[in-house]
């Protein structure tokens, strides 16, 4: 039913997970639009940033953090995890669905892992459909 929409994914990433431009697994139809937001530490991702990403039209939001125990700032990734969990609860409460927001631990510079995560989210969100808060405007 939602096959032909261009998937918009916003990725908040710690600069210690990867830095600079990365290869985007765009697929044959170039059906993904990525918005990359880098942070000095994943703990800088505030609840409101995640929600505003959905307000701005993201169909899915991914937060990439360092592996547990490997955060340069000790517990930044743990704080990010808590914030993501809180916002997932909010998304469930308002009916948007927590599956649209995910957090993944990524070893520094592991672009292959990031590419795999994007493919995984692409499949998941394609099945879920576009962000219902923006679906009507995107049909026009």
């Amino acid at each position: 039913m939602y096959k032909n929409f261009k998937l918009r994914i916003t990725i908040f990433h710690c600069i210690n997970t990867f830095n600079g431009a990365m290869a985007v697994p765009r697929g044959e139809d170039d059906d993904i639009e990525l918005n990359l937001i880098k942070l000095p530490c994943s703990s800088m991702v505030k609840d409101v940033f995640l929600l505003r990403a959905f307000e701005a039209g993201a169909d899915a939001v991914i937060v990439l953090v360092c592996p547990e125990g490997a955060c340069r700032y000790v517990e930044g990734n743990l704080r990010a995890k808590r914030r993501v969990q809180r916002v997932q609860n909010v998304l469930d409460e308002i009916g948007l669905g927590s599956r649209r927001l995910s957090l993944f631990n990524v070893a520094p510079g592991d672009e292959a892992a990031v590419a795999g995560i994007i493919q995984e989210m692409r499949a998941e969100i394609t099945a879920l459909g576009p962000n219902p808060a923006h679906y009507i405007s995107r049909l026009a």
């Binding site: 505030k46 609840d47 929600l51 505003r52 409460e93 308002i94 808060a133 923006h134 009507i136």
Partner: protein, 222 residues
């Protein structure tokens, strides 16, 4: 501090639905500390409400503002212009703040976004516990600074009920037995003998049970 918890979004949505332009007004003191109504919570709630209403094909203009305290006129007046621009105010302050805003701006609907719960402390990060009922007649000195009114489930004044087990209350095992805490504390202070003195029944007229209270400090009125 006053501890409160933000209402569920569904309840808040129902409160604001009649309005197209609202101000979400946060408070930078107690409710900020318990993560219910500070600047961050105002921003998060604004975004969540817009998303929730957008999914129903509705739009709402949300203005955000947080003042230091909503229980003092000096800070309330900082919100005057923002209040005048909006159809209603969703206040994330405690009940006192909500009412002070409403009293100061009587022509604007002021809606509560927080359930005010108790007077308490931040026991450790993320844990807030009730410590005081505001009874108006503090006898903490008798009880080694552990309040049996707020912290004993049965509000006993003259010793434990005998139902506790391993220092936990028989009413709710998640609650520490206040009298265990009192006895431990008095032992530590070397004042255990003081607990033998009889404590008279409480005069509840000095609490809210005697009606809403006022405090007039003539010595501070110019």
């Amino acid at each position: 501090m006053i501890v409160g918890e933000q209402k569920k979004i569904a309840e808040i949505k129902e409160l604001v639905e009649p309005y197209r332009k609202i101000l979400i007004l946060g408070c930078g003191t107690c409710v900020k500390t318990c993560f219910a109504g500070g600047e961050d919570e105002v921003a998060t709630l604004s975004s969540a409400l817009r998303l929730a209403l957008s999914m129903e094909g509705k739009e709402i203009a949300v203005e955000e503002l947080t003042v230091e305290r909503q229980c003092e006129d000096e800070f309330i007046q900082e919100a005057a212009e923002a209040i005048s621009r909006n159809e209603a105010v969703l206040s994330l302050a405690c009940g006192a703040g909500v009412q002070d805003i409403a009293r100061t701006f009587p022509k604007v609907p002021v809606l509560p976004g927080v359930n005010t719960t108790f007077i308490g402390i931040l026991e450790k990060h993320g844990l807030f516990t009730e410590e005081c009922l505001g009874c108006g007649d503090c006898k903490l000195a008798i009880f080694g600074s552990v309040c049996p009114i707020a912290r004993c489930s049965k509000k006993l004044l003259n010793g434990p009920c005998g139902g506790s087990k391993d220092g936990k209350c028989e009413v709710d095992p998640a609650i520490d037995c206040a009298w265990q805490l009192i006895i431990d504390r008095m032992k530590e202070l070397g004042q255990l003998g003081r607990l033998k003195s009889y404590v008279e029944p409480k005069d509840w007229r000095r609490s809210n049970a005697g009606g809403p209270r006022k405090l007039v400090r003539q010595d501070h009125i110019v």
